[in-house]
């Protein structure tokens, strides 16, 4: 469904991605793990159309999208929930959700999807009039995922959704990811929490300083010695 081939990304003088290739099949959870600065976020940002300075090809449903504007990428069905959640703190929960649906013009469909997001995350319904900035970290994560779902995506990219959350909430976040996947969404997940990510993922790639060094099924990598040593604490 989503295919990346020989992708290079440059930031100023830094060569952040040095030719990575990966594939995200329809309906799967695919994860990209690696240390801080390995280039995981760069990959997602490049797919989302935020990075201008890049080489290589990104194709989605057979069409090249490597030079497509972010707005068009959202319309085509790929959405990203950025690192740090980045909800709009000065806007209400409801307004945040409506922003997620900005690219849509079917008002009834949007209202229906807001109800659907509230069913997925009942906490958001209780807080719909509250400003985003007043939510707890876990609630903000729910809002960030809910907001991304509002664009009616086929593929949802999550950048470090568990970052900065208490261990108990981390479990919830991965439960949310599985639920979103059960709802028919393809997931591309970037995580530092390698253990949880590998457990949730159907397929995984390990990224080290801009190069993919390893890939395989989630449970395979979970058992791999190199992965255990580097990312799972032995």
């Amino acid at each position: 469904m989503l295919k990346v081939e020989d992708l290079h990304v440059y930031y100023g003088g830094i060569h952040a991605l040095k030719g990575i290739s990966l594939e995200v099949p329809k309906g799967a959870i695919v994860t990209l793990i690696g240390a801080n600065g390995a280039g995981k976020s760069s990959a997602l940002r490049a797919i989302a159309g935020l990075v201008k300075n890049k080489k290589g090809s990104i194709s989605y449903k057979g069409k090249d999208i490597s030079h497509t504007q972010p707005v068009e990428i959202v319309k085509s069905g790929i959405v990203m929930s950025p690192e740090g959640r980045r909800i709009f703190p000065h806007l209400s929960v409801m307004e945040n959700l409506h922003l997620g649906a900005y690219s849509r013009s079917d008002k009834d469909g949007v209202e229906k999807d807001i109800k659907w997001v509230f069913e997925l995350f009942p906490r958001l319904r209780e807080r719909q009039e509250q400003k985003g900035g007043t939510l707890s970290g876990g609630e903000q994560q729910m809002l960030s995922v809910g907001r991304a779902l509002m664009s009616q995506p086929d593929v949802i990219m999550l950048d470090e959704p568990s970052l900065g959350l208490a261990p108990l909430l981390v479990k919830d976040v991965f439960e949310i990811i599985r639920e979103v996947n059960r709802q028919g969404k393809t997931v591309l997940l970037v995580e530092q929490n390698a253990f949880a990510a590998l457990k949730a993922a159907h397929y995984a790639y390990v990224l080290e300083t801009g190069i993919i060094t390893l890939s395989g099924k989630g449970e395979e990598l979970l058992a791999d010695d190199r992965v255990r040593k580097a990312y799972l604490g032995g």
């Binding site: 980045r86 806007l91 690219s103």
Partner: protein, 297 residues
Amino acid sequence: MNAAMFIQHFLNSLTLGSLYALIAIGYTMVYGILRLINFAHGEIFMLGAYFVFWGLTLVHLPWPVAMVLSILVTAGLGMLVDQIAYRPLRDAPRISALISAIGVSFFLQNVAIVFFQAIPREVYRPEWLENPILMGDVRVLPLTLFVPLLSFFLMMGLVYIVYRTKTGLGMRAISRDLETSYLMGVPVNRVIAITFGIGSALAAASGIMWALRYPQLQPIMGVVPGFKAFIAAVFGGIGSIQGAVIGGLVLGFIEIMTVAFFPELAGYRDAFAFILLILILLVKPTGLLGAKPEDKV
């Protein structure tokens, strides 16, 4: 000073303050979204006034038609300035766009001098604005009521756009977090263009009413009101629409009331705004309603 005189000064303050506020809104909206001080805004104000003048004298349009047309044309011009002078510099350092803005300001002034000539033009005022209304002891020009009223309606329209429409939601999102707005599918460049259009429309409305109040047009007429409205926006807290309105009104009141109570200071009238600027920068650089840095996520 008796009550009648005070009321007169009060209404004058309100009028002048509304005119400043309308210009200040344009500065603050563009700053809120792009972190750019659009120094060409005073020239947009000037052109709005000239367009009405030409509409009246060249094409002999009726007043209301000339006014609406001028506002629309000026809005389009503001969007054009954004497209030509600022959009190519979106990813450049902020100072580049600022320099570009100063360049546009000089450019528009000089274009106006070439096309409209530097000699001041007199604006014809419709009669219904000329005949004073007597309210008890108070003599009021209809214009003095017309300006705050029209300004009020324009501001209500603005509040509606910003807080009740999708485009307004996009503006509020972009002003906080440009990158995430892109990720949400907000057509950022279109929303920015609309912001320039709205700011320019309000500046044109202000310029037109200014020309009715001080019926003389000059290519440099936008410079001083532009600077003062900029100060009003900084005073209110740049980036905040409410702040720009409050700042404009406060400045209007300071100018009129100081001269009313201390006529000997009349010569320093234009200096008050700058004193206000120095004071606010010393005491509260973020302005009355400006975002506190710690608010930023």
